[in-house]
Amino acid sequence: MIASEPILELPLDDDVELQEYQSAPARALPSAPPRPVQYKALGPQKFQFTGTGSEYFRIWVVNVLLTVLTLGVYSAWAKVRRLQYFYRNTRIDNATFDYHGKPGAILKGRVLALFLLVAYKVAFELSTPVAIGVAVLLVALVPWLLARSFRFKMVNSSYRGLRFRFAGSAIDAYKMLSIFPLLAAFTVFFGWNVAVSGVARLGMGTVVLGVALVILILGTVPLGHYLLKRFQHNNAYFGQTPVFFDAQPAEFFRIYAKAVGFLLLGSISAAIFGILTNGLFEYFKATVFGWFFTLLYGVVSAYAFYLFVTPFLQSRIQNLVWQHTELAGHRFESAASARQLLWIHASNLLLVTLTLGLFKPFAQIRVLKYRVESLTLVPDGSLEEFMCDHAGDNAGALGQETGDIFDIEIAL
């Protein structure tokens, strides 16, 4: 159907009421002459998020209650409602996104995942070799699952009526993730070496190996993150239009190196804080709640590191990834600030703890709103000329038929 053509009125055969109704105002409608359409070029468009905590709270409460009462069956419907709330409240250029996942498909995936988990546990009880076999099988399935999960997510997302699409194959995923088994093998080798040489006398070899392992981990994680993002963005389509991703691994390394630097700085300040507050700590430890306080102290200090490094990585990686993503000449800009995110995460944590978890839906909306609204689309011309992908329809149907076998959540 081409929009500029006059639309034929197809009378619905048996519906008299409809016919009557149509005949009257139809006359008033001028027949549109076919004309070339000129669209005005758009300026930069900020992403908007219109969801509110108070509205989402109600959706969340009903979702959780029904999930609990149905012993988890409702969780598939809850997921669809949640994602629809998030997608439909995200807009650029006054048009919203939409989510089309079917609860049935999600439920099938979850049942199968649960079944495999139980099977794994049972196998573990039966005998160790069987369990290892099942575990290896599951690990071997991960890349395939990853590709499928991306595909399900993309094909069920749309903007302006056009579906997204993901064309990454399982083979690509295997190639990408194969560096991780290498890392695991090296770790095992390292562990074995340390065990053999004996912890008592730390030889030069052990030290060298240890340093090599740290370098390897530092080298693999940013590279892995880069490859994952490349896999995700470079295989995505909006309708027929492919998405391009051109970030370099070096930029991921730079961000991770900074994060490690922050960790080191953080541990120095934490040590100073620990020394300064030692007296206070001892005082609390001596009270009746001492054991509880000790536990809390440990958990909180471990969490502080996580709290400080996560917003940094989250914001910098988001900025990096979107600044290097392009869709047919349309560019993205991302200006998420680590400091803002830190404030949001820290205040969320406090409020969630104080409200015994009831603040959680508000917290989710706050993070999402900030992250979405830090994005800007810089269009090249207008956004009116994307076409849907007809072949993509089949992929969509297939995707829904087979369902997302494992509904793995991988944050964007």
Binding site: M1, A3, E5, P6, I7, E9, L12, D15, E17, L18, Y21, Q22, P25, L29, A32, T50, G51, T52, E55, F57, R58, I59, V61, V62, V64, L65, V68, W77, R81, Q84, R88, R91, A95, D98, E125, Y159, R160, G161, G239, V288, W291, F292, L295, L296, V299, A302, Y303, Y306, N348, L349, V352, T353, G357, L358, K360, L383, E384, E385, F386, C388
Partner: protein
């Protein structure tokens, strides 16, 4: 008639249209586009406060309408009803009712559902499960915390044979192994899920009364009989999973703190259950309960003394599983935070049972 936007699902072009729903037929028209469809064939999205509502045609094309007030009116006139869940979500009083229902459900699940479920599951678990966990735990403790007993063999055999001679209440005898140990645990006795019961030398020295020792051992046998270790593990796992879902991505680590607190009250119930078993067993064997009551009193006063001195090892009776020695027992700690019932309560229970026994004689 309301203003809306139409997307045909084939390209991303925006069409300004007007929308009318009459006699359950959706009619849409704009420059060069015009469609009609029965309302029943269209997929009408759920109502969100700040997002446009979507009326989707069967072929995937859709109308986006942001004028909620007039669209609601139009839909209502055409007898369209939102699904019940959506009406529920859009209504504050009903959502708050859902919240109250949720909290009541979770509390009852924690109070009754979880213990009952863990109990049922624990009775179903194969004996090999308890044996595996128990054997591992015992091996670790033997290596790290326990040392061979210094009690004379004759004394060990005497206690062993006296305990073996006792009748187990409630039918079938329960398989167990009694071990004597010394070590860093202080005065303590505990049971493992594989049926191993351990009592420390300092405990025997501290109690110094055979009837009280048999009472302590009966209490531990109660833990074995009621499979408390497995139930404790299962309940912890259940609480952990539930809390993780509740707090979720915020922090799994923080969820560990309330998880420990939440399982304490269940663990106190286990102690009461084991006390009850010990009382039944002592009575079935016509043994006095008073020595056991005295023992708790002694321990309670010693614990107070120890708390005053601060660094002395406080005696704790009766830790099950690998949870280590009982935390310092100063009765000033509220019941809610403790893994064991207060000594006063246990003494009262024992004395009441002794009185009841005397009355029936």
């Amino acid at each position: 008639m309301i203003d809306a936007i139409y997307y045909d699902g084939i390209n991303s072009r925006r069409h300004q249209v007007t929308l009318v729903i009459q006699k359950r037929v959706v009619a849409m028209r704009g420059a060069g586009v015009r469609r009609n469809e029965r309302m029943s064939k269209m997929d009408i999205s759920e109502r969100l406060e700040h997002a446009p509502r979507i009326l989707r045609f069967p072929d995937g094309a859709f109308i986006e309408a942001s004028d909620h007030r007039r669209l609601d009116k139009m839909l209502k006139e055409n007898r369209f009803q939102d699904p019940r869940v959506v009406r529920w979500q859009n209504n504050w009083p009903l959502s708050l009712l859902a919240l109250v229902t949720l909290l009541v459900t979770l509390l009852s699940a924690w109070q009754w559902g979880l213990p009952a479920g863990a109990d049922a599951l624990a009775q179903q678990l194969p004996a090999s499960f308890g044996k595996k966990i128990g054997d591992q735990a015992f091996a670790v403790m033997d290596k790290k915390m326990l040392a061979p007993s210094t009690l004379p063999m004759a004394r060990q055999d005497q206690l062993r044979s006296r305990f073996a001679a006792m009748v187990h209440p409630g039918g079938e005898p329960i398989p167990y192994q009694l071990h004597f140990r010394s070590g860093r645990m202080g005065a303590n006795a505990f049971a493992l899920p594989n049926g191993v019961i351990v009592i420390t030398d300092s405990m025997i020295k501290l109690v110094n009364d055979d009837d009280a020792i048999l009472g302590v051992l009966s209490h531990e046998l109660g833990h074995v009989k009621r499979r408390h270790s497995a139930r404790h593990l299962l309940q912890s796992a259940g609480i952990g999973i539930a809390l993780n879902m509740w707090v979720g991505d915020v922090s799994s680590a923080l969820a560990a703190v309330p998880a420990i607190l939440l399982n304490q009250s269940n663990s106190r119930d286990f102690e009461r259950e084991a006390d009850k078993y010990a009382i039944d067993m002592m009575r079935a064997n016509h043994l006095p309960l008073e020595p056991m009551a005295l023992m708790f009193e002694t321990m309670s006063s010693k614990a107070h003394a120890a708390a005053a001195e601060e660094d002395e090892e406080s005696p704790g009776v009766d830790e099950e599983e690998e949870s280590g020695p009982a935390p310092k027992r100063t009765d000033s700690r509220p019941d809610f935070l403790s893994s064991h019932p207060s000594d006063a309560e246990r003494v009262a229970t024992l004395r009441a049972a002794a009185r009841a026994a005397a009355a029936t004689k």
